[in-house]
């Protein structure tokens, strides 16, 4: 049986990971930042003898526990399911290198979940000092889950030279720590910590917005302003960390940022620039809006305002995660594995023996495929981790107006992967024997024929017709 290369209609399998991941980031970063917010705020309330704060904080802790413990944990596991189905080769490579890292993360994660529950359920039942200690212990464990996953995520952007030297030799594990503390590890950790602290403030504002400002003006003003202050660190340090991060990103990847400045091209080449633009705009606006809504008029802060802020934070985190994914192109693991799952070192072997014969995800027992089926297998294996047939980065749209000859020429460019090819910056090489590539061209020619733009129902039915080919 062939491994199920996941065929998700419309959004493509990449966006399944993307949507889960953005949802997860909003919550998991809150789990880390909020983990610091709770004990720090409790500490402050105890020192200043503010009983009313503690009452609000307790409600916030409950909200925190439910949101992070249920939705955060479940969406985290969801990412595992999605990446395994979408990108088996990349997932496999990560597991082979970082199984020990994930084991550590799992320990911290279990501690984190347990402590969060203990923190909430012991509220008011144990001495204050002990309760605070539990809170700080939670903050510590949740920070380390971030610390470890950050190592793995930054590794995917660029593993660093030491690891790349031994990649593929079977000695990868010997450079575990070099790969873990790769060049972008620290600036990325800084960026993520700032995002955590900001999200702690943003989610806390949601809790604070429910305080009745007319009945308890003093309480509302003080808590809203305290929570709004949590956006200040990121406001001050974001340019710094962002500059440092870009400095550490390999030159070839940084050049991708420039691609979309002068053109929208056919849309795909400029996605990173456009996503970065949203990152900039949303990060600035979210701080300004918190300042205006929360800091300047704390008593009037209502739930719609807080939801508005949350929406801006979602724009900021979502576009950041998207930009981070795009920054890796044409690789899924920088300098090692292309985004279609082909290892850089295996390109020659694939070209010689054939992609379908080399890839481990297609059963070797299958009898010789006929032309179209071979083309589709090539498409599923090498195109579908980024493209869909007819919607997201649609083949129908991108290949519109081309015939078999021009599609063949385009595939030739992708296959030859010459230094000056404009596609080289973004797309992996197309591997396989000439016969396989011809099959792919035949297949693409068939699926890229735009359905006649007459009636709506026909348009909707087109993807189903395309499938059996």
């Amino acid at each position: 049986m062939n491994y199920p290369f996941w065929d998700v209609p419309h959004i493509g399998s990449g966006w399944v990971i993307g949507l889960i991941a953005i949802f997860h980031v909003m919550i998991s970063h809150f789990a880390v930042g909020g983990g610091l917010y709770l004990p720090l705020t409790e500490h402050k309330a105890l020192r200043e003898g503010r009983k009313d704060w503690l009452e609000i904080l307790r409600k916030h802790a409950k909200f925190f526990l439910v949101l992070t413990g249920v939705f955060g944990a479940v969406s985290g596991v969801g990412i595992w399911f999605a990446i395994g189905l979408t990108h088996p080769e990349g997932t496999s490579a990560l597991i082979h290198n970082f199984v020990f890292g994930w084991a550590m993360e799992w320990v911290f994660f279990m501690l984190e979940l347990t402590t969060a529950a203990v923190y909430y359920y012991t509220w008011g039942r144990i001495p204050n000092q002990l309760h605070l200690k539990i809170g700080y212990f939670y903050a510590f464990t949740s920070f380390f889950t971030l610390f470890i996953i950050n190592g793995i995520l930054t590794f995917m952007l660029f593993p660093g030279k030491p690891w790349l030297e031994v990649a593929g030799t079977g000695q990868e594990a010997s450079r575990f720590w070099q790969a873990f503390f790769n060049p972008t590890f620290w600036p990325s950790l800084g960026l993520r910590c700032m995002a955590c602290v900001s999200l702690a403030g943003v989610w806390a504002l949601l809790s604070c917005s429910r305080i009745n400002g007319d009945d308890q003006p003093q309480l509302k003003t003080s808590m809203v302003r305290w929570s709004a202050k949590w956006l200040l660190p990121s406001f001050l340090t974001l340019p710094l960390f962002f500059g440092w991060y870009l400095w550490e990103v390999p030159e070839s990847q940084r050049a991708l940022l420039q691609l979309g400045i002068s053109t929208i091209s056919s849309g795909v080449f400029s996605q990173l620039t456009r996503a970065s633009f949203i990152v900039m705009s949303s990060s600035i606006v979210v701080v300004a809006v918190v300042y205006l809504f929360a800091w300047r008029s704390p008593r009037d802060l209502a739930i719609p305002h807080a939801i508005g802020v949350l929406f801006l934070a979602l724009c900021a985190t979502g576009s950041t995660e998207y930009a981070r994914e795009m920054l890796r192109k044409p690789y899924v693991i920088g300098g090692y594995m292309y985004s279609n799952g082909v290892r850089k070192t295996a390109v020659a072997k694939n070209n010689e023996n054939g992609y379908l014969a080399t890839t481990p995800w297609i059963a070797k027992t299958t009898p010789e495929l006929e032309n179209m089926a071979r083309g589709e297998a090539m498409f599923r294996g090498q195109c579908m981790s980024c493209h869909t047939r007819d919607s997201y980065r649609s083949m129908t749209r991108l290949l519109a107006g081309r015939n078999r000859e021009t599609i063949g020429n385009l595939l030739k460019i992708l296959h030859e992967y010459a230094l000056e090819s404009p596609y080289r910056k973004f797309m992996p090489p197309l591997v396989g024997t000439p016969a396989e590539i011809d099959s792919l061209a035949d297949y693409l020619t068939v699926i890229s024929q735009a359905p006649e733009p007459e009636a709506k129902p026909k348009l909707a039915a087109a993807p189903k017709e395309a499938k059996p080919n």
């Binding site: 720090l40 020192r47 705009s281 600035i284 460019i413 404009p422």
Partner: protein, 164 residues
Amino acid sequence: MKKEYNHKAVPTEGEMTRGAFLKAAAGGVGLCYAAAAGYPIYRYLSSPIEKVESAATVSEVTVPDGQKLAKGEAKMFKFGAKPAMLIHHQDDSWVALIAVCTHLGCTAQYESAKNRIFCACHGGVYDPKTGGNVSGPPPRPLTRLEVKVTADGVVVTQNPTAKT
């Protein structure tokens, strides 16, 4: 970061300077953000200047051993940042062109069998003698360069009248 907000033990005077420092820092960072917001507009307005400057940076390139190019063959080389091609025609004439397709900026190729310059991205076709856009989507001809064949190589220079 957390300590700044937490310790009330800091003396009042220190508090004052901290406030002033924060204000100054926030103002400075705010300026950075404002500059970032103005950056696209600056780049937009300066586009023609950048284009002129990048075109002016390179005006002459020598293609080493270009003179050994056989008739009916073409050779790719870099003219500044742009890919360019040198063609030695069957009638012994030499033509050099910037190989950036005027449609969407892909690199065009010389196809000697069909005696045409072809951009595979969207099927644009150019005349290999003049660089004129013959068919397909390209809106303008390719930019021509001046060619001088010497004993050590082919010297390609920017055509002073052509605009890039």
